[in-house]
Symmetry: C2
Subunit: 317 residues, 2 copies
């Protein structure tokens, strides 16, 4: 049952066309309706308003005073509706404010460098890049896109994979000098770790050798709210941390951080996704453009770690 049986916008549109063209038939032609349809529609409108808008014979139309006033207003209203819808419609060119939330390491190393090019390609977009590692609520934060590393909670959010990051457990040389180097995952129980202040999707660190998989974690000596803070703590020798290779690759190559238990995590990887709200409605153009841009330009190199002859670690590939 049609509750909103009166489509006032259509009434206004037809009425305005009738007045503009000066006749029901001409208006009907223009609107691809029949004259009879126009006649009934105008009559309905007048009956609903309870007042006559058009005095009409078969030859002439004349607006009543109410008709004239209503016409003036209707023209204005229709043009405003037109503008409102055009404005709201996804124009060809992306525009507006785009809010992106990224975890800190990836945002700093891979997103920020791309921003100038993106903004140059889309001059009408302004971008807010918010860097946090905590789990965020896209709604709450009014973010259009979030970039996250690791397994995703099942939800109606849609994820687009941007790349893969190898995870590696590292410690600073001075830490390892004090606490020793763990040889098997179980050794972690006697070590100190760096945890997170926020709940992460996976609880422990995953290790694998051959077919055997196990989880283990050192008791946290400190907790960080983001990966960059964890890296700094780790560099300072506070404890072991499991961090993304793209993040601490330079530190490893420079010897500031040393991978441990490498024999146990050859395939320890986490996917990097751009996450956005689902398909219920069309995606704003700026969001789609940004995601496409990311997917095309983000190249997370996924090198292997090799120990060089001199005992130093190198990133290969």
């Amino acid at each position: 049952m049609a509750r909103f049986d009166t489509n006032r916008s259509a009434e206004m549109e037809v009425f305005v066309r009738v007045v503009d063209l000066g006749g029901f038939t001409q208006a009907a032609r223009k609107l691809r309706l029949t004259p009879s349809g126009v006649s009934k529609l105008i009559s309905r409108l007048e009956a609903r308003l309870g007042s006559r808008l058009i005095n009409r014979t078969t030859r002439k139309l004349t607006l009543t005073e109410e008709g004239q006033a209503f016409y003036d207003r209707a023209v204005r209203i229709l043009s405003e509706m037109e503008e409102a819808e055009r404005e709201a419609a996804s124009g060809a060119a992306p525009r507006g404010r785009l809010t992106v939330n990224s975890n800190i390491p990836f945002g700093m190393l891979h997103v920020m460098p791309l921003i100038p090019r993106f903004l140059a390609q889309h001059p009408d977009v302004t971008l807010d890049l918010v860097l946090t590692d905590t789990l965020i609520d896209l709604m709450q934060e009014r973010a259009d896109v979030a970039i996250r590393v690791g397994p995703l909670r099942a939800s109606r959010l849609v994820a687009r994979k941007l790349g893969t990051s190898r995870m590696v457990v590292v410690g600073a040389p001075n830490y390892l000098a004090r606490f020793g180097t763990p040889k098997i995952p179980a050794d972690l129980a006697d070590h100190r770790g760096i945890g997170w202040t926020f709940p992460r999707s996976i609880r422990g660190w995953s290790f694998r050798r051959g077919d055997h998989t196990e989880e283990a974690m050192p008791p946290p000596a400190a907790r960080a709210s983001d990966g960059e803070a964890a890296r700094r703590l780790c560099l300072g020798g506070v404890g072991l941390a499991r961090l993304a290779l793209f993040h601490i690759g330079p530190d490893i190559e420079a010897g500031r951080l040393v991978p441990v238990l490498q024999g146990y995590n050859p395939g320890d990887r986490e996917d990097i996704h751009a996450v956005y709200v689902g398909h219920t409605a069309p995606l704003p153009a700026r969001v789609r453009a940004f995601i496409d841009f990311l997917a095309e330009h983000v190249k997370v190199s996924d090198p292997a770690l090799k120990r060089a002859g001199d005992g130093r670690w190198k990133l290969v590939g």
Copy 2:
């Protein structure tokens, strides 16, 4: 086939309600719809615009940038529509400009005296009283009401009878002294008459004695564009004229004009009508009020003519 299948006003209304109340379900309750209906409507709107307006989970709604802009505009547009329709709707109180067209004698003698009272009763009405005797086109003249004497052409115009006027053929004393007094209608051929510059509905003057009816007219010596001009010509002795009794009653009683052929037109009357355009649409309140007012207050006395003992004519009743 519904050509105007999208009722954009309803879309806007529902959308605004959803935003105001912060949920599909609450909006549905308020709008007496089902949540499912609201959901579909919003989805339709977004699909039509090609862009998302509301990011939604089961718990939270958040407007996208487009949604916020569209909301602001929609609120404004809806209020303007409301105002336009309210303005156009026939409010309880009549208001606006009322254009009345009347023939000159009746307008001067019966309409104009009533105008102050009418305007006092309806302060928001302004009245244009146009006095012409020519046949007018209500559309062309943008008149709401016309007052006419005599038979009506069949048309879709609606007529409301205001009264009856006895018609009487008169001449000035000095004219009758020169040309004599006609005794039978056929005598008019030797007289001079006052005609009209515009075509009147009836051709000749109608006379009746007993069962016998005939038409006759003196050849016009002059033609007048309105009844008042004809009266003046007649008073000046130009010729005989057939005029409304309400118009020239005082002249007769004062002896300035003398009825002739009274034995032949005991029942020669013409109806007075207020004419307005038909029932296709509701009548504007001011028009209805005016017509009602006229019908109630116009009292066209329809006296009989009696010849007093001294030979003078008196109006009785």
